[in-house]
């Protein structure tokens, strides 16, 4: 059961071969066995999960189940879920029980999916290794001494270890795609504005986007059908017609034009990763696609631009954690100002404080034009690079990350080295484009992801591109040993 696709699970449920209660219990048993080591989940609530499973079984018995009814889904702990502890990986929210549901959670509830538990993540989604979580590191199921990537590291490890059939993630600079790459999964960051941010704890609002993480692109398409949609409560949610993200899955790839950005195959990319990615591209040529070299000349600027915009927006968003209305409050203080300063000093971890301080600095009096405004102008240049490239191609391909999973603690003392992990993913967030990572093979026994970048709202086409590859190869079916 643990290797079944969402479609296969749905068929078993609809055919009454298994019940949602049995399926949910099977995953809860696996979690109880493996999570103490892997640490992919930070909050479990068996009673709530099984109650949802029972409700799903009743719904299926009445014959009004949908594709995800009864299927357990792991939820990144950035999504508020009513009655569930929702921590965002921070001591600041370690005792916070969400009083309402995020849009994404509402959508899964409506679909009849089961919330299997809340997954570990970098604190406030700030990190590329899941090492900044207040709740401890997450092991990469492929090599327990290595990181799963981040910030959606718990979701990635949960699906890779088959502790959940699929999971949600969020991606501000690569937080779905990089962990998907490092854990051998498929992960999609949709076009900015496609999934509502309502109830998704804010990091950098102009970049944050929710998306699915699963074993295959077919599974991603079913998840997208649930997660996407217009929501009035998110001021940047886009008003668009509902679409079926699975509608193009089986289209042939003949004539597909793949753009290969020369900047993505340059210095900084590991030779082993480059080889796996080139082999994947060769497979696409066999499937009938053509390749064309394109250029994204401002790629190198995406990291500086991101490390102005994201911390600036974070410093503003995280001002709400003041120890007054919810979350942590320091036990001892002299006055109101001291309470704020001690609460925030004790409640936030080192990386979050660093980013708040960078953001505070670039937004402080006299610096706005030199930093924030400058970065927003460069952001347009970066978006224009993609627009020019898409005149020559339908999708862009390259590596998701410059290397395979690195060792725990290898980069924790050097923030800048950690930031360079996201060199191929960040520009996609800045441009607001959809980006996906799919398993393309292994280097030294560790998974390598192929990144597929699409034009705005081309998710269905990208899923088709990923699905065709997954019909021709079996990388996405591999599972780590010992589980």
């Amino acid at each position: 059961m643990i290797n079944h696709s969402l479609n296969e699970l749905a068929a078993l449920l609809a055919g009454k071969k298994i019940s949602s209660a049995e399926l949910t219990r099977e995953f809860l048993v696996r979690i109880a066995k493996h999570n103490p080591a892997i640490n992919a989940f930070v909050t479990l609530d068996e009673e709530k999960s099984l109650a949802q499973a029972a409700a799903a079984d009743a719904r299926i018995a009445k014959g009004d189940g949908g594709p995800l009814t009864g299927i357990p889904i792991a939820q990144k702990d950035i999504f508020c879920a009513k009655g569930w502890r929702t921590t965002c990986g921070s001591k600041m929210l370690a005792n916070f029980t969400a009083p309402y549901d995020a849009y994404v959670i509402e959508q899964f509830d409506r679909a009849g999916a089961v919330n299997l538990g809340k997954t570990n993540m970098d604190e406030f989604a700030m990190g590329s290794s899941n090492e900044t979580s207040f709740f401890g590191k997450v092991q990469n199921p492929w090599d327990r001494a290595r990181v799963p990537g981040g910030s959606s590291g718990g979701s990635a490890a949960a699906v890779a270890a088959r502790l959940a059939p699929a999971a949600t993630g969020t991606d501000t600079g690569g937080s779905i795609r990089q962990p998907a790459s490092l854990c051998g999964l498929s992960g999609l960051k949709p076009t900015y504005g496609v999934c509502s941010r309502y109830g998704m704890i804010a990091f950098a609002s102009s970049l944050d986007q929710a998306g699915p993480m699963a074993k295959s692109c077919a599974d991603l398409s079913l998840m997208m059908n649930v997660m996407a949609g217009f929501d009035n409560r998110d001021s940047t949610s886009l008003q668009r017609d509902q679409e079926d993200y699975a509608r193009e899955l089986n289209k042939p790839l003949a004539g597909l034009r793949i753009g290969l950005p020369r900047e993505y195959f340059a210095e900084g990319l590991s030779a082993e990763v480059a080889k796996v990615v080139q082999d994947a591209i060769a497979e696409y040529r066999r499937l009938g696609a053509q390749t064309v070299e394109v250029s994204l000349p401002n790629t190198r600027l995406s990291i500086p631009v991101y490390y102005v915009l994201a911390p600036a927006e974070a410093s503003s968003n995280l001002a709400r954690y003041d120890g007054v209305r919810y979350g942590y409050r320091a036990p001892q203080y002299t006055d109101l100002l001291d309470m704020y300063c001690k609460t925030r000093a004790q409640g936030f971890g080192a990386e979050v404080k660093r980013r708040i301080m960078i953001g505070t600095y670039v937004l402080s009096a006299g610096y706005y034009d030199a930093y924030y405004l400058k970065a927003q102008k460069l952001r347009r240049l970066i978006a224009q690079d993609f627009a020019a490239a898409f005149k020559q191609c339908d999708v862009i391909m390259g590596p998701t990350a410059p290397d395979t999973a690195f060792k725990s603690d290898e980069k924790t003392d050097d923030p800048v080295a950690m930031y360079l992990q996201d060199i191929y993913t960040i520009a996609v967030n800045l441009a607001g484009l959809p980006g996906m990572s799919i398993p393309a093979g292994f280097a030294n026994g560790l998974p390598v992801g192929l990144q597929v970048i699409g034009n705005y709202f081309d998710e269905a086409r990208m899923l088709n591109v990923g699905h065709a590859y997954q019909q021709a190869t079996d990388w996405h079916t591999r599972m780590p040993e010992g589980l």
């Binding site: 009035n232 600027l301 003041d322 925030r344 960078i358 400058k374 460069l378 347009r380 240049l381």
Partner: protein
């Protein structure tokens, strides 16, 4: 652009984060490293380029000025660190 220890303390104060002197030292090196990374932006001429905040360049939606939310004060205050009679408690600010 290089920071001084005093800059770090000033930024921390603006951010309402208490820093000990020993922390400020470590912070100084890391923040300077990140600002060094950011400095690369200044090498590009951006005269005449419109700043971008949303890829679709959408404008803010407006809605009727009507009450849409139910009163959930008790529920929302159930997660607060200190409340009394429906009020959030903070240290005394006016003598």
């Amino acid at each position: 652009m290089s920071l001084t220890l005093n800059d770090v303390k000033r930024i921390a104060h603006l951010a309402r984060i208490e820093v000990q002197d020993s922390e400020a030292e470590a912070c100084l090196g890391q923040l300077s490293g990140i600002l060094g990374l950011i400095e690369e932006m200044q090498s590009v001429n951006t005269d005449g380029i419109e700043p971008m905040s949303h890829s679709q360049d959408v404008s803010q939606r407006l809605r009727e000025d009507a009450v849409t939310e139910a009163d959930q004060r008790a529920l929302f205050q159930s997660v607060a660190p200190a409340v009394e009679n429906g009020l959030y408690l903070v240290p005394k600010v006016i003598e």
